[in-house]
Amino acid sequence: MTGSTAIARNRTAEHPTALMQVVGVAKRYGEQRALVDISFTVNAGEVLGLIGPNGSGKTTLLEAVAGLAPADGGRILWRGTSPAPSRRREFMFYLPDGLRPWDEQYVARVVEFFAAAYGRPASITAQAVGALGLAPVLRKQVGALSKGYGRRLMLALALITPQPLLLMDEPFDGFDLRQTREIMAVVRNVASNGRTLVLAIHQLIDAERVCDRFVLLADGRVRGIGTLADLRAQTGMPAAGLEDVFLALT
């Protein structure tokens, strides 16, 4: 049994509320090993941060978990069962980074399309639009949005989806400090309403503010899993911030 798998199994035993288990996921791009035996658990209602520098494998991992990139090995367990990759969208929704989809469509139409596809009531759509402050740009084309509004639109689409688990890649990218804090409040509000979030974040300060637990990734390997207190204990640095902990473990 490898180290990260053992860590994950121990944590599953500690957390009977495990919503999803990632067990031994591996991925190669030719000779390059993008993910090596990645294992961790996601608990219901938490905000889990996948933390790592650019190129550490966060996006590849999220895509493999969501079934949008074929993994070379490993399993994804949802409440103990192993759904086929094509069925994972029934349980989770993955919001990729840097998308500007359907750029010639109007924002309102894209939002309405998502709501209609999932059969969501108008109140949910209005709530998402209101939470992300999208009302001023509803009659703008997606391609004409600023970077910040583009990110807000993507987040609104994620909020409209009904799946219990949201995977988001760099959700705070493109926002200034004030906007980032606003979006963090939205994310915390989503979690407090019962949804579970897995956020891939490379800004450690942002991650420390918003996440309940962390999976530290570097070079496609898990370097640590737990709450900030767990990680501090693991590194023997009781007063350290996430940055120091991350540097110590990687």
Partner: protein, 460 residues
């Protein structure tokens, strides 16, 4: 068992998906550019066809024999729809590629495949949108048909509908190829190159290989343009229909196989092989289906009704051995005037080319070159004629049957018409383009916002 918190993939409403796909196609510039190019193309083709038809009609005004050669299908409809064919071949792939290519380029595909729709449903919706785009592309040619009727031109509904249906099949086939090209390409530009390789490659097959002997002739028949030829002759072939529908379904299925980014390439390859094998089986079945209906008003694909009835009663195998090179014009005549009609009329006809692999130059020196041998029920006769007037009596003699008397009132009268189509140019060069620009504006206008979205969505 389904988890209580699972979002069902089946049963999601199709209407929003279809609306979104149609909006995607009409929001791009490719469709409107194609429509604007189609207007003068179709308009000029129509005007020129009417002028030439009028000149031929003027000469045939006092001659029933000349008049009987004037068919609006050949004279006006096929040339006019030829402009649509050119546009569908060269421009429609760009329109169809847009339905998927842009989503791949912007990453929207990764959102789309997570929505509660199965991949075949997504492809079906895109094909529906492509059909919608083809319907819009049909507007200039359809308006030409209306103008022709308004000018007093004759239209035979079955052959006109057959021609339209042929163009529909061709449009959907080009659309399905373009969709497949988009599904296997990372960029729209690459997809366009692949799609045009199919469509323009068909022209190359037509020009380079048509009439060539043996396997080359078989390869030439894979040309996409062959789809149209039969329909342009007023023939509705069940086998061709089955083959083209199988090709459309096959390319759509391949698009579905290659659409999802989460499927390993090896699995995609295996599924593709299964698709190709299934289509090949349907092709094999289609080539055995010889039944067809002659919808041309002048019955150009059939002998007279009396001959058709008499020939249908020839139950023994009829073996025809042709000593002509396939590219020889006499063989082309024989094929069109006799052999193709015999294949439709006689149940057990077998045609054998005795000069396979030889060219006209290499064969004409042989004494037997040009002979056509007919064998029926142990009797054999030879002829060098390519005319049914000589060949049919020969066949009746071999079968020891009387020559049927010609039926009355079967002769095609022809429909000469001298008309001035110049006012139509105003429609094609000004009226219709203006309508298209208005359509572009209408399709791009900002949507009205639902009241609740404005009321409740205003406050962050």
């Amino acid at each position: 068992m389904r988890s209580p918190d699972a979002v069902p993939v089946r049963g999601a409403p199709l209407r929003p998906l279809l609306a979104k796909e149609l909006r995607e196609i009409v929001s791009g510039r490719a469709l409107w550019t194609m429509l604007l190019i189609l207007c003068p193309l179709v308009g000029y083709s129509f005007w020129q066809a009417v002028v030439l038809y009028g000149e031929a009609s003027a000469a045939a005004r006092d001659s029933p024999v000349l008049a009987s050669g004037l068919s609006p299908l050949d004279g006006v409809l096929v040339p006019t729809f030829g402009a649509l064919y050119v546009a569908v071949t060269l421009l429609f792939p760009f329109v169809a590629i847009r339905s998927l290519g842009r989503e791949k380029e912007t990453g929207a595909l990764r959102l789309l495949v997570q929505l509660p729709y199965r991949v075949p449903t997504l492809i079906a919706a895109k094909m529906t949108a492509i059909f919608g785009a083809w319907l819009l592309a049909l507007v200039p040619a359809a308006s030409a048909v209306v103008i022709w009727a308004a000018l007093g031109g004759h239209l035979h509904a079955p052959e006109t509908a057959d021609l339209l249906f042929g163009h529909l099949l061709y449009g959907l086939l080009v659309g399905a190829i373009a969709l497949f090209a988009a599904s296997i390409s990372e960029s729209s530009a690459t997809a366009a190159i692949i799609a045009l390789a199919f469509t323009i490659g068909s022209w190359v097959l037509d020009f380079a290989l048509a009439g060539q002997p043996g396997a080359l002739d078989w390869v030439a028949r894979l040309s996409l343009t062959q789809t149209l030829r039969t329909f342009e002759q007023g023939l509705f072939s069940i086998g061709l229909l089955l083959g083209v529908v199988a090709a459309i379904a096959g390319f759509a299925a391949l698009s579905a196989v290659w659409l999802h980014p989460g499927i390993p390439p090896r699995t995609k390859l295996l599924r593709s092989c299964a698709c190709v094998a299934a289509v090949a089986v349907v092709f094999a079945l289609a080539t055995r289906l010889g039944s067809s209906v002659d919808l041309a008003e002048d019955r150009r694909n059939s002998f007279s009704a009396a001959d058709q009835r008499a020939l249908a009663e020839l139950r023994a195998p009829l073996l025809i051995t042709v000593r002509l090179a396939p590219e020889d014009p006499r063989y082309v005549d024989l094929r069109r005037n006799v052999l193709a009609k015999l294949e439709r009329a006689v149940p057990g006809v077998v045609i054998r080319l005795a000069t396979t692999g030889q060219s006209v130059v290499g064969s004409t020196g042989e004494e037997a070159y040009g002979e056509i041998e007919y064998s029926y029920a142990g009797r054999t006769d030879k002829s060098r004629s390519t005319s049914p007037r000589e060949i049919l009596p020969l066949l009746y003699a071999l079968a020891e049957r009387p020559v049927p008397p010609p039926g009355a009132g079967e002769d095609y009268p022809g429909y000469p018409l001298v008309a001035d189509a110049r006012p139509a140019l105003l429609w094609f060069f000004a009226g219709l383009p203006l309508l298209i620009v208005l359509g572009w504006w209408w399709a791009h206008r900002a949507p009205a916002l639902p009241a609740q979205l404005v009321k409740d969505g205003g406050q962050p």
